[in-house]
Symmetry: C2
Subunit: 336 residues, 2 copies
């Protein structure tokens, strides 16, 4: 039986230093993609087996990122976090990083999970999703110096620099949708949102207001109605709104669930011309039914999260934690 290949063999075949091979295995963020690929090809060609557990024990760096998998949320836009997970796993894999899933029942339970994974060196950094005002997880991670980035801004916090975060600029999304109608000469543009207060919902309504004010139009309360994020509730709300005499020639919605409800209500009401609708989240439903929608670009979110995680590990103490606000994309369909 021939001797097992060593890290030096890999370095020789790839034409790099031993340290570079080690970096590819333990801190791939430090190595250019082409070099990483050359080293990985050499590893595969030689059948070199870096023992992950031994490596981890030595470095306490698992190169593994922990992410909570939420309960499947009902509703049509409920799959956003799943879409993020797909993007994130793909981007992490491209950087030689792994994604470890865990579940939890509440913030305390999540902290217990994170603590165990971190203490055991099973995961060396975390992505927290579904952030909320005064998030207990954020406080604990910060205090215990566990590297993390949140997907979701610190809603309600005075200070946006308490921790590194990435979020999607929903306000810019609904502003772009509204602006699109304005550019087509439509002046009466309605908004279908969620009951206030809602960090995300109020933000999306704000984008509609911004765009109208930018065109010197008044975002009158009569142009707005709200419903919980449910197709049937949205359908009833829009039907009742029309019966009360609401008039609009286009409708911007805070979600695809709301948009589908609106589409069902408006398709029953065949007295006038058809009214174009824009939803939010660019779900399979908006694609299937052919209405426009705002795409959150989870691919860009995933890239930004990984950049911040990488920077976080390298950053000097004392630098303010960075954040990124991703601009969503208006996906137009049909006659809108």
């Amino acid at each position: 039986m021939p001797a097992l290949p060593t890290v030096l063999d890999v370095a020789r075949v790839a034409g790099v230093s031993r340290q570079t091979v080690s970096n590819v295995l333990n801190a791939p963020g430090l190595v250019k993609a082409e070099t990483q690929e050359r080293v990985r090809s050499a590893i595969l060609a030689l059948g070199y087996q870096p023992h992950a557990s031994a490596r981890r024990l030595r470095t306490r760096r698992a190169s593994t990122l922990g992410v909570r998998l939420d309960e499947t949320r009902d509703g049509i836009s409920g799959a956003l976090l799943d879409r993020f997970l797909h993007s994130f796993t793909k981007e992490a894999d491209a950087r030689g990083l792994r994604v470890l899933l865990y579940v939890s029942t509440d913030p305390e339970d999540e902290i217990a999970h994170i603590r165990r994974l971190n203490d055991g060196a099973d995961a060396d950094a975390f992505v927290l999703t579904s952030t909320e005002h005064g998030d207990a997880r954020v406080a604990w991670m910060t205090e215990n110096r566990v590297p993390f980035v949140t997907f979701g801004r610190p809603w309600g916090a005075e200070d946006l620099h308490t921790h590194p975060w990435v979020d999607v600029d929903g306000r810019a999304g609904t502003a772009a949708a509204t602006q699109h109608f304005l550019d087509r000469g439509i002046r009466r543009i309605g908004f279908l949102g969620w009951p206030s207060p809602s960090g995300t919902g109020d933000d999306r309504r704000g984008g509609w207001e911004d765009a109208l004010r930018g065109a010197a139009l008044d975002p009158q309360p009569g142009l707005v109605t709200v419903a919980p994020d449910d197709v049937g509730a949205a359908e009833s709300a829009v039907a009742a709104w029309r019966e009360r005499g609401a008039e609009f020639d286009a409708l911007v919605c805070a979600s695809d669930s709301l948009a589908l409800g609106a589409a069902l209500a408006l398709s029953r009401d065949r007295s006038g011309p058809s009214i174009p609708i824009v939803g939010f989240d660019n779900t399979p439903v908006s694609r299937a039914l052919g209405f426009s929608s705002v795409e959150q670009r989870t691919d860009l979110v995933a890239e930004a999260v990984l950049e911040l995680l990488d920077g976080r590990r390298a950053a000097e103490d004392g630098a303010p934690p960075p954040h990124r606000l991703i601009v969503p994309e208006l996906v137009l369909r049909g006659d809108v």
Copy 2:
């Protein structure tokens, strides 16, 4: 600084043997749920830190299960594997197991990923999804004795015992849907499926045929139409089918995408009474629009996969690999 708690401290507090603590950490499948919980509470209370990497190195048992995360599939029923992942992560967590994600571009790339994860002891067993006829992964895993279970049966194989697998009995699902209509006295029951050949699609059509034959009815070709799994295509197909004079009083569909297309086509056609529809996959769309659908019970699939993985590790060589066919559930809604 007090001495760090040891495994003996945990055993004493939990009132179990040292071996039981070790089993909870390394082979939780062997320990009753209540005992596991007692040991875990003691571990948390004492702040005992079993070093995961050290443990792994010793046992080469990561208690970590590798699962490929597929590209997000378009279409309304495309989220089934995401739903399985949620169920699987939850069930794995309840057993003290972890789920590690990876992505791959094709079967060869997936084998390379599995090889690396297995060689490095990063994952000690795998779940393969989206199985196909003559699956290269199955052959490689079997030859290399890497523990695995597939979610998906060996379509087209003569021998159902080549490897352990779990699948959902789609045929039983469409049969139950058809039977439901028969029980209500409906005789003319149509089927909207996918173009043949399709392992899954032909199986679902088979269930509709079974139920009709069981009621001494002829599953005539005129009662069937097909479309690709796309709402618009299904809508056109059903509209054209009706124009050709197709008559049915209820419709069983191979997916919720098809069912939504059918619902749209039939809602335009207001000459007759409304026709009840059953879809497949119990997606948020079927819930939102209120039509019945067949639920695949990914929770039962996840449990069965974990049981087979556990049994697989314990099984004697030579025993035929087991499989489980999960019976789906007909979820009734509206006036059906």
